[in-house]
Symmetry: C2
Subunit: 214 residues, 2 copies
Amino acid sequence: MTTRIQRRNRRRILDAALDVFSAQGFRGATLDQIAEAGGLSKPNLLYYFDGKEAIHRALLTDLLDTWLDPLRALDPAGDPQTEIMAYMRRKLQMSRDFPRESRLFANEILQGAPRMESFIRTELRPLVDDRAALLRAWATAGRIAPVDPYHLIFSIWALTQHYADFDAQIRMIRGDGHDPLDGADAFLEELYARLIAPAPQKAAAGPRAVTGGA
Amino acid sequence: MTTRIQRRNRRRILDAALDVFSAQGFRGATLDQIAEAGGLSKPNLLYYFDGKEAIHRALLTDLLDTWLDPLRALDPAGDPQTEIMAYMRRKLQMSRDFPRESRLFANEILQGAPRMESFIRTELRPLVDDRAALLRAWATAGRIAPVDPYHLIFSIWALTQHYADFDAQIRMIRGDGHDPLDGADAFLEELYARLIAPAPQKAAAGPRAVTGGA
DNA sequence: AACAGAGTTGACCATGCAGTCAAGTTTCTT
DNA sequence: AAGAAACTTGACTGCATGGTCAACTCTGTT
C-alpha cells in the first residue's frame, strides 16, 4: 500500500529526475543533483527507488504510452488530410507541453536507445508499420499526395520535436525574449497542407528525377 | 613544428574521440574509452591534448566551419528555389557523410550548448539572420511562397539532421537491413518543392494567417 | 501515552575516472 | 654511433559518484 508521503516523494523525485536526466543525459546526471533538485537527501531518494537505473526506467515507462498516443489516435475512418494535420498538431503540442520528456527521449536515442530498444521494436515499430500502411492506402486511393509514408511520419517527428530538443539553439538564434514555438503552428500547417494535398496539376513532372536515390 | 607522428596520433585521437563523444555525450565519454578506441594509452593521449575538455573543444572548432558552409553557400544571386533546394541537399548530404558530427552537435545542444554558446551567438546567429533576410526578400518579391524564413531554415535542419541524430530509432523501426536515408532525398525534394513554390492560384488566400510570427 | 512501522540521514565504502609523473623506449639529427 | 629530443606508459593520486547502513525522527493507530 502506498502512503501519502510515498506518493508525494515519488512524484518529487521523478520530476526532479526528469529535469536532470533531460538536461544532462543518463550518464551526465548524478544522484546528488536529483536529490538536490527534489529537496531530499540521496539516501532518502534511494529509499524510494532501487537506484539510478530504476529512476530512469520509471521515467521512461511512465512516458511511453503518452508518447504513442498521438499516433494511436490517428483515425483510419477520418478524413486523411484532417487526420494527418491533427496528428502533426498533437505532436507539436507535446513539444510545447513536454519538452523535457522530448529531450529525455532524444538523449536516449542519440546514444543508441540502449534502454528503449525493446519498446521501439515491440511497440513503436508495429504501430508505425500499421499507420504507414494506412497512409499508403490513402495515397494509393488518391486521397493524399503519393509521399513515402515512413518519411512522412519521420518528418512530423523531426519537425515537431526539433522545437523541444534544439530549444537552446533556437533561443540563442532568435534572441532570449522570443518563444521558439512562435509561428511554428502556422508554418507547419502550411508545410503539411502543401505536402499532402493530392496533386492538383497532374501532368507537370519535375525537371529532376524525384524518385532517385541509392 | 609538428612531426609526422604528431599528425598521425592527433588524427587518431580526434577520430576516436568523435566516435565516443558522439555516442556517449561529453560526460558519458571517458578518456579510457577514447584511448582504447584510438589504440593509445591514456597518458599518451594526454601527451597530445591538455585534457578531456581540450579534445572536445578541438573537435568542435574543427567542425564549426564545415557546419556553416552549406548555409554560407546559399547564393543571393541565384534562383531562389534552386538555391533552397541545393541547401537542403547539402545538409542532407552532411547527415550522410558526417553523422557522428551531427550527433556531437545534437548532444551539445540538447544539454544547453554550454560549449557552443559563443559560436552560436557570434557566428551562427548573424549568418542565419542574414539568410533569413534574404529568404524574406525572396518571399516578398513573390519568388518563393511567403513562409517564415526562420522556420524554413529550422525545418531544413530538423529534417536533414534527424536522419543522423535519430538513426538508431529509424533503424529499429525500418529493420536493420534498411538504410535510414533511402528515399529521404526524394521525399525532401517533394516536400520543399511544394512548400516554397509561389502560390499558383494567387487569389486563393488561406484560411489561416501564413506569415504570422514576430 | 506508547508502540510499530514508515520515513530520514550523516557517515561511510568501493569504484570509476581525469589527470600526473618518473622512468622507460623510439626516432631524429649529426 | 651517440646524444638529444620526441614519444610512450605503468603505477599512482585525488576527487566524484553510486550505493549502503546503523541510528535517528516522524506519523498513524490504539
